[in-house]
């Protein structure tokens, strides 16, 4: 466990409460990863990928949307340079995640951060970031749970299941598997929202993403939404103390506080809500 931004780790109750929340959220994401991974394995199998090739994609690339797109590209006969260009474009959003996590993980050894980077996905970022924010400091155990427990293992098991046994399941969309990914993404976005700046960034990001995707394609749309949304969100004045506090500090984390968590030293376990507290009227 490490601290961030000069903060010292909080009390054990806060840590336990946040880890419980993380595990609950990770269970939901693991289900999502399994559903999405299963469909990916199925699609790859139908496109002529062998089990070894599917497993190589899932372990080495480990980027669901790009893997899905690659299945379509390979099936459509697109040349490899084109596939690589589109893959780089589709995964460029990870640069923003990586930069957002950097201040929180700066105390970790270089090699550990290098491994963390390979496991950085939409889901791992959102789960870990929400956990760090709830705590107000960096609990790296949470990153590994999010990256490996909630995504890497379920994703790889499910892709293999999809490629090996998926052929016996007719019309998987009848079982709602196609809505799991967008539902998980929107749920993770909600988990990262603690004030109106984030709401504006999310709404604008979605709107710009769809508008640009209709003109220039989904990969460009997603990146455009991810770049423009935060810029517009920044233009909104922050109204609450947690929004004004630097990322990674205890004050910032209060925007994500849960009952029983994030108490100051010497503060009673339960106390009446006071003006300015999370959840109290402004």
């Amino acid at each position: 466990m490490t601290s961030a931004a000069g903060e010292t780790p909080g009390n054990d109750d806060a840590l336990r409460a946040s880890r419980r929340q993380l595990i609950l959220e990770s269970a939901g994401i693991a289900v999502s990863a399994m559903g999405f991974g299963f469909v990916y394995g199925l699609a790859a199998r139908d496109a002529g990928f062998s089990p070894v090739e599917v497993l190589a994609m899932s372990v080495i690339v480990f980027a669901g949307a790009a893997q899905f797109a690659a299945v379509g590209y390979v099936a459509g006969g697109l040349a490899w340079p084109g596939i690589l260009l589109l893959t780089a474009l589709l995964n460029a959003r990870h640069l923003l995640y990586s930069a957002a996590l950097a201040p929180l993980l700066r105390d970790r050894p270089f090699l550990e951060r290098a491994v963390m980077a390979h496991l950085l996905t939409d889901e791992a970022f959102a789960l870990a970031m929400a956990h760090f924010r709830r705590l107000g400091w960096t609990d790296t155990w949470g990153y590994w749970v999010a990256a490996i427990g909630a995504t890497f293992i379920p994703w790889n098991i499910a892709t293999m299941a999809g490629v090996l046994v998926g052929g016996s399941i007719p019309e998987p969309n009848r079982f709602g598997i196609d809505v799991i990914f967008p539902a998980a993404m929107v749920g993770l976005a909600v988990g990262l929202i603690s004030g109106r700046r984030e709401i504006v960034a999310a709404v604008v990001g979605a709107g710009i993403g769809v508008a640009v995707a209709l003109v220039a394609g989904p990969a460009i749309g997603i990146i455009a939404g991810g770049l423009v949304g935060p810029a517009v969100g920044l233009a909104i004045p922050s109204s609450r103390a947690p929004e004004r506090a630097p990322l990674g500090t205890r004050a910032s984390a209060r925007g994500y506080a849960m009952p029983g968590g994030l108490r100051d030293e010497g503060e009673p376990a339960e106390r009446p809500a006071a003006p300015g507290d999370p959840g109290s009227p402004e």
Partner: protein, 108 residues
């Protein structure tokens, strides 16, 4: 058993890893100005919302991307509402899948 695409996987890794690693491994990232850090704090909600919206509202056709309205909106909207209300992603996902199954069984 074919292994030709294993090389493609390695090449895809080589174009994906830099964007994942640059921020975490570049030494200057933790000395960014406050405004830049504020911006990065908003990246997660914006990209995740864009991913969800594009996935649900845009479909690829032979004529190019097309705006789509369908049952998926209700399923994903229900998940959003439940997560916002109960802070429980698992419940939200179950609701989304249940709505999709029920809607499709009803021919929607």
């Amino acid at each position: 058993m074919s292994t030709q695409l294993v090389l493609l996987a390695v090449l895809m890794f080589l174009v994906t890893y830099p964007s994942r690693a640059l921020g975490l491994l570049a030494p200057a990232m933790d000395r960014l100005p406050r405004r830049a850090l504020d911006y990065l704090q908003l990246v997660g909600p914006a990209i995740l919302a864009a991913l969800a919206a594009v996935n649900v509202m845009v479909v690829a056709t032979d004529a190019g991307p097309r705006f789509h309205v369908g049952l998926e909106w209700i399923a994903v909207g229900a998940c959003l509402a439940i997560v916002a209300w109960r802070r429980n992603l698992f419940l939200g996902l179950i609701a989304a899948v249940a709505i999709a199954i029920a809607g499709r069984a009803a021919g929607l």
